[in-house]
Symmetry: C2
Subunit: 429 residues, 2 copies
Amino acid sequence: MSTQDVNELMQQMGERARAAATAMARANAASKNAALRELARLLGESGAALDAANAQDIARAETAGLSAPMVDRLRLGTKVVATLQEGCLQLAAMPDVIGTIQGLQEQPSGIRVGQMRVPIGVFGMIFESRPNVTIEAASLSIKSGNACILRGGSEAIESNKALAAIVQQALVSAGLPADAVQLVPTTDRAAVGRLIAMPEYVDVIIPRGGKGLIERISAEAKVPVIKHLDGNCHTYVDAPCDLDMAVKLADNAKTQKYSPCNATESLLVAAEMAEAFLPRIGRIYKDKGVEMRCDAASRAILAGHADTRDAQLVDATEEDWSTEYLAPIISVKVVAGLDEAIAHINRYSSQHTEAIVTTDHIHAQRFLREVDSSSVMVNASTRFADGFEYGLGAEIGISTDKFHARGPVGIEGLTSLKYVVLGQGEVRG
Amino acid sequence: MSTQDVNELMQQMGERARAAATAMARANAASKNAALRELARLLGESGAALDAANAQDIARAETAGLSAPMVDRLRLGTKVVATLQEGCLQLAAMPDVIGTIQGLQEQPSGIRVGQMRVPIGVFGMIFESRPNVTIEAASLSIKSGNACILRGGSEAIESNKALAAIVQQALVSAGLPADAVQLVPTTDRAAVGRLIAMPEYVDVIIPRGGKGLIERISAEAKVPVIKHLDGNCHTYVDAPCDLDMAVKLADNAKTQKYSPCNATESLLVAAEMAEAFLPRIGRIYKDKGVEMRCDAASRAILAGHADTRDAQLVDATEEDWSTEYLAPIISVKVVAGLDEAIAHINRYSSQHTEAIVTTDHIHAQRFLREVDSSSVMVNASTRFADGFEYGLGAEIGISTDKFHARGPVGIEGLTSLKYVVLGQGEVRG
């Protein structure tokens, strides 16, 4: 497509999204839930059509020589579809927050003032590879009364088109506008540039993908961006703490999965606990093949202990303290205590998720209050930083920003509050 | 100053603000409230110093030939100072929202998840003329646990410097960092350009001033902007309604003051009420010298009635429906009913504040739900759209955006929510 054609296409999609957003904002809960249930049903019924579209993407990916894990991410197997159906049904069963009024209170003038939760309007979502994001984004958009324009990865274009067609069928069957969920039908890169620069049609952009993509979009967008950069998450083993719990948490936070953004990348240990704690966790990391990038104090302890002297021990560089490995590597540092731990975290973390393991109530309170990250935890694995685990029902992304939404973003992150004023003829004096 | 000097100055202010923000985020309620009470006391004590600084600004303004109203806006009279003192004391008496935890709830995994209200960090405020904004912004910043960098208008620079010195004295006396409130000491325009482009030091920019200033800042800022554009506010007189109430509200909303952004600029009238209503309000507008820019239907009624045929009646152009007059002018249109009123408002309003006058419950509910503005009102004057009237205690501005904060912005608009997770050693399975 020519750039002009892309611009015209995006402009038309924007106009249609804006019109659909008005209808979605007025839609009652029953219609939105009916659309979600119908979407779940259609996903179950459309196996053959989805398989055919998905097979095209997979064949193209294999011909292009994509790695096996990359090809796997494209697959819309029975299990993936079942999870998507389950997600739609869960959302349909959740209470509708749109139109709820909070804090309605009478003021000295006599007017009653409260805040009504309303949809943001139109959001644009830009994502890579996994086609299931199409359904996750669409279902959250429907439930929250927004309209959305989705731009998936080019490698999943046929799957995404097939899924978007099902979404539109579900919307229409529930009496809602098909344009409430639109997929950008071209893989032309100019479409992204246009999507992020149409403040008249798009209220917010949510990118999901690598840090490079997100930084580029944030720099160029003409509308707000709910962005998730890196997750350099910390677990701090405090003194005093339950050592068994500390070992269990530091193990799970690092090794339960290496690729998620909420995996712990840096382990801080209070000096008082280091001798007792480090060899125990070090032994586990060694057995699981986790490389430890250590400061001098932690290296001395680990290298000096029979269980861990032959572990993969490397001297940490200054860069290690800021690094999100997403791999079987962890940085390790001994700190004097809580103050140094908080200072280190606030300096080096990416403000994503940090946990303290402690039995000291005051330390726990101070950690919660003073660590400036989107999720702060006491005695829990950083791996819990997730919309589903937090009870949001679903997650459109995780925000590492402080503005508008912070941490896992669910339905509320796609809404805004407007003031409602109920009077009986009051005037300003 | 050279551009390089300005850049260095702003960089240093940014670093100091960031450091102060950390201390402010940890500050307890007692210290913040002590600083506010001390600020109120010092404002009362510093009459002579403030007068001297203020006199310099006024002399300069008069020499420069500023208009009398512009010079008046610079004046820090006894009454202005008393209002500022009162504001500080009111804020000190309000509950502290920082550190409060909402929605703490146990999840299926056993972890308890809630959200803690925390300061945004550092905000930059850019404002014109009135020096009292220095104190309003400083006091809100202190109460909300933020640090701020204030950039006032060049015409009030001496007054602002004197006020900022008092604020810093109050902070220090309460054991808080003086750098929590910094005033840009130069009137160099390059300072604004730098202030809005330091995401490493400044988390959000709040401009207050003309639409041109705000659009320019929004276009150039590298951080989020809480912006207030125009207030093209509507009052819609529905059928059925209480006619006496409609007249009282349409009068107050337009004429109580012409310059505020929440004054009504456009009057919509249901056709069924037009014959009875328009001559009554038209007579009042005529007597107060308000020009009416009418559609054909309203003009016919007004021109045909003895009370209003010699009023200032003008044919409205398409542009009138979008115009914020801030003057004794109002656009007037007869609509078929609620649907047309809502459609007209959602097309032409600036999404600031709109009111319906009605006795119909379903119409009221639909107006509240379907009008997409930051404040929607039933049977009240649009002039109530204001942080004080809404019970926010104070107002840093009014947002016409949907993102983060909408409508009058008080302390909560300067805060964010982070997730807190309380566990007992839970891990992800």
